[in-house]
Amino acid sequence: MNRKYLYPVIVFVIIVILWEFLVALFGIREFILPSPSAIVVHLIDSAHSIAYHFCVTMSEAVLGFLTAVLIGVPIAVLFSYSKFAEWSFYPYIVALKVTPIIAMVPFLILWFGVGPVSKIIAAAIMAIFPIVVDTTRGLREIRPECLEMMKSFSATKRQTFMKLKLPNSIPYLFSGLKIATALSTVGAVVAEFVGSNEGLGFLILTHFYYLETATMFASLIALSAGGIVFFFIVSLIESKLLQKYGIGVEE
């Protein structure tokens, strides 16, 4: 196995052993800090319920992410062609980004209900910023010589976009998408905390009221795992695509 993947596993094992040992040594009560073994027991006990809520949260995050892509990429294309459009709308994209999502969620719930729709929108709001910003940059950051080269071959605007600007923006798009995976998960969970009756955010909040700390931890671990897998799936698509088109792959 590659050492790159081995080291974090070793760190994980050391932390778990230390944690287990210290909890036992100081006799810390379970509702303050459960031992790793207790967490595993709860994870197995409520595996069914965690799996269900996991699916709810992750599908909200993924759908929000996809919505952000579907809306964000065309906005980036618009911005890349029209400074006017960028000047007009960019401040609002920034406003969406800087306004804490938690303050916006009550409105979303008011308008779209406690169901998954408000969560998907919250996830999309979080994810859209890096997608718009990075894709716009990728579509714009083209050496003037490349544009002159296309002009020297009498390329049409459409051809210049399809053959030059779009492929050039792919690595930028993906750097935005990777950040967006994490942000969309955050958006979905935050919205669940404010008001919902399912999802991992709801699960953590419910168990918090009953001080079932071990189950809270189990849900948290499921959430991290989901976020990591989401990130790696997008990274995998990125590396496959970049490999196929030979973009930025080091020898």
């Binding site: 010589e145 020297s152 071959f153 049409t156 051809q159 053959k163 792919i170 088109y245 030979g246 973009i247």
Partner: protein
């Protein structure tokens, strides 16, 4: 006889906040058919600007460029002009072959380009990506790309400027062979350089520009026999031309 290339009263002004910048002033030149022309002058004298104006990808502020009595923009649209830029400007996500194919793709044509790899000495590198090729090889790909649609005029902007002396020398020999071989449809090459030896070795006519704003300082006819070979560089005529040009460019 009508000249194949006629520059009439070309001037170029770049407007800027600190005042308009006069780059080229009153350029009048006539070039006959089957001529290899070099434009030489100190850096910043507007050589590149002049070449882009000749190629029809940049509009002059005054004057016009006529190629066989047609405006150069029109000639460019008819795909009669191939341009090799200062850097190879290859698309990094395309193989050498795909890069060379680009102009044909834009025209909606499909032609076999394998013979070009023989011509430019890159047989076996068809599927290589630009990052896998040396600077000299990338430059060859750029030349092949400019030749692929069989233009009658080739414009080259310091194509070998970034190469080391040995490679530059080799590329000069290959370019002159290509020009003299009759394997292309070229009836004229316009070559921008600041290297006097390169200019004399390749050209029939050398246009010497002054420092900014670029004006014509002299037009030197190079009446050295063709086909030319490397031995020519030591001949007395070559050396005296070299002295003449050095005095022209230094004064």
């Amino acid at each position: 006889m009508t000249p194949a290339l006629k520059l009439e009263n070309i001037s170029k002004i770049y407007p800027s906040k600190t005042g308009d910048l006069l780059v080229l002033e009153k350029i009048d030149v006539e070039v006959g058919k089957e001529e290899f022309v070099s434009i030489i002058g100190p850096s910043g004298c507007g050589k590149t600007t002049l070449l882009k104006i000749i190629g029809g990808i940049l509009k002059p502020t005054t004057g016009q460029v006529l190629i066989n009595n047609q405006e150069s923009e029109k000639v460019l649209q008819e795909r009669k002009i191939g341009i090799v830029f200062q850097s190879p400007v290859l698309m990094r996500w395309r193989t050498a072959k795909e890069n060379i194919n680009l102009p044909l793709e834009l025209m909606g044509k499909k032609t076999d380009v394998t013979h070009l790899f023989d011509l430019i000495g890159l047989k076996g590198f068809e599927e290589s990506y630009p990052r896998q090729l040396s600077g000299g090889m990338q430059e060859r790909v750029a030349i092949a790309r400019a030749l692929v649609f069989k233009p009658s005029i080739l414009l080259m902007d310091e194509p070998f400027g970034a190469l080391d002396e040995i490679t530059r020398h080799k590329m000069n020999l290959e370019l002159i062979d290509l020009w003299q071989s009759g394997k292309t449809e070229l009836s004229m090459i316009v070559f921008v350089t600041h290297n006097i030896i390169e200019a004399i070795f390749l050209s029939d006519k050398i246009i010497v520009l002054t420092k900014r704003p670029g004006r014509i300082k002299a037009i030197v006819d190079v009446k050295l026999e063709r086909p030319r070979s490397i031995a020519l560089r030591d001949s007395r005529e070559f050396v005296s031309l070299k002295r003449e040009l050095r005095e022209l460019t230094e004064a």
